[in-house]
Symmetry: C2
Subunit: 247 residues, 2 copies
């Protein structure tokens, strides 16, 4: 049961195909994957005609898929101009981390309340994400470290036992991947935080929730700082970021 975190996420994505999603949703899945893998870079335009042609779907269906991705904040829709892969600003990064502190902090505090009440919820998901990250680091798989780190924070948020919080967290992490694509190496970013994750998991296993919260919030502060610095140094591309009510 070391990789139980993997099972659940795998099941979640599997369910989408199980319930026989609409074509618009399947198209959105394809485009989402391309965006998340960095095959289309932030700022790039997603032209209706060519994509509808390539995927063999009607423009109407494709536009429905665009709406879905727009709501996930992965693309922006500008009236009469089309849809573009989201290009995050420094303000977005600040905003996202502010939200992460709120949600992850609250989730960990909520978990702590249960501990103090004498009925400690399981920490196994958190721990398995940590070991997953360490294993990936040991074999030099820094992409795997990034994935494990996402698992870690998703399982922290999951402690709140709220589907809405889970959903928002997934969206926030997906948005952050848009930033990573504009950054040089991923190793420099994740390596310092392997220790933090380990420390948080250990504190939780010891029932010391207060300290775990403190480490987590400090972690988030530092991660935000580092990301913003990276951002400033790679301020080469800044083209469109018209911010009108995202449609």
């Amino acid at each position: 049961m070391t990789d139980s975190a993997d099972w659940t996420t795998a099941l979640v994505s599997a369910r989408q195909t199980l319930v026989r999603a609409s074509t618009a949703e399947r198209v959105a899945d394809i485009l989402r994957d391309m965006v998340m893998e960095g095959r289309v870079l932030p700022g790039a335009k997603l032209a209706e005609d060519s994509i509808a042609d390539a995927l063999q779907v009607s423009r109407n269906t494709l536009r429905e898929a665009f709406r879905l991705l727009n709501h996930e904040r992965l693309v922006v829709h500008e009236l009469n101009r089309g849809v573009f892969v989201r290009l995050l600003t420094e303000a977005d990064v600040v905003d996202i981390y502010r939200m992460r502190r709120a949600l992850e902090g609250a989730a960990l505090r909520f978990w702590g309340e249960s501990v103090d009440a004498g009925r400690p919820p399981a920490v196994s998901h958190v721990r398995s994400a940590v070991t997953m990250g360490v294993a990936a680091a040991e074999r030099g798989d820094w992409d795997g470290v990034g994935t494990a780190n996402m698992h870690f924070h998703r399982s922290i948020a999951a402690l709140a036992d709220s589907t809405r919080i889970d959903e928002i967290m997934s969206q926030l992490l997906a948005e952050l991947r848009l930033v990573f694509h504009v950054m040089p190496t991923v190793r420099d970013f994740y390596e310092p935080y392997l220790g933090d994750n380990e420390r948080i998991a250990t504190l939780m296993e010891a029932g010391r929730s207060q300290e775990a919260v403190a480490v987590l919030l400090d972690y988030l502060d530092r991660a935000e700082d580092q990301l913003l610095r990276q951002f400033a140094s790679t301020a080469g591309r800044r083209s469109e970021h018209a911010d009108p009510a995202s449609t």
Copy 2:
């Protein structure tokens, strides 16, 4: 400047028309208003043909509007079955309040950090929402009290200075209105909390953020409890609540 809270919300909705929203968005606006005002009750089906006919828009456009409302969780979309006004469950109420505690609590704490750092942000929005509620109560306008209460909590969340948190808060409050439509009188619900809002505002003006947080979280606990009790007593209608990946 007593009603500055009103200005901002008015501007937000005005902006939608300013940027010359697409027809899909205008249709969504109309439907949203009808749902929020309780003119179409939770569980009711929104048939494509009749609505498209009544609003004189194509079904394509209407479907785009449905997507928007679906993302706001005001309607649910069941594949090959159509769109229905959202019907909240007890689990939804629990989930929503869990999220509210996370967001409003974090916002108030964030504000407290600024206070402790010696640069106290303005509390005028919070205070004006309180006086708005008191005034409405004095003239027996319990609908106005409800609106003022929404302003109050929105301005609490706004202390986090995060557009994402603002957005989510608005959505959560909109969802809650779906519950109110299934409830008897509104007065019994809001009256007890006028005092809480007043107390929180006063504590904030005194810079006692810790205590303000405590009162707020306690307030949310009691509101959730009361709502769940109301829910149990009005458990008359429960038809569709198929929970598949909401499309």
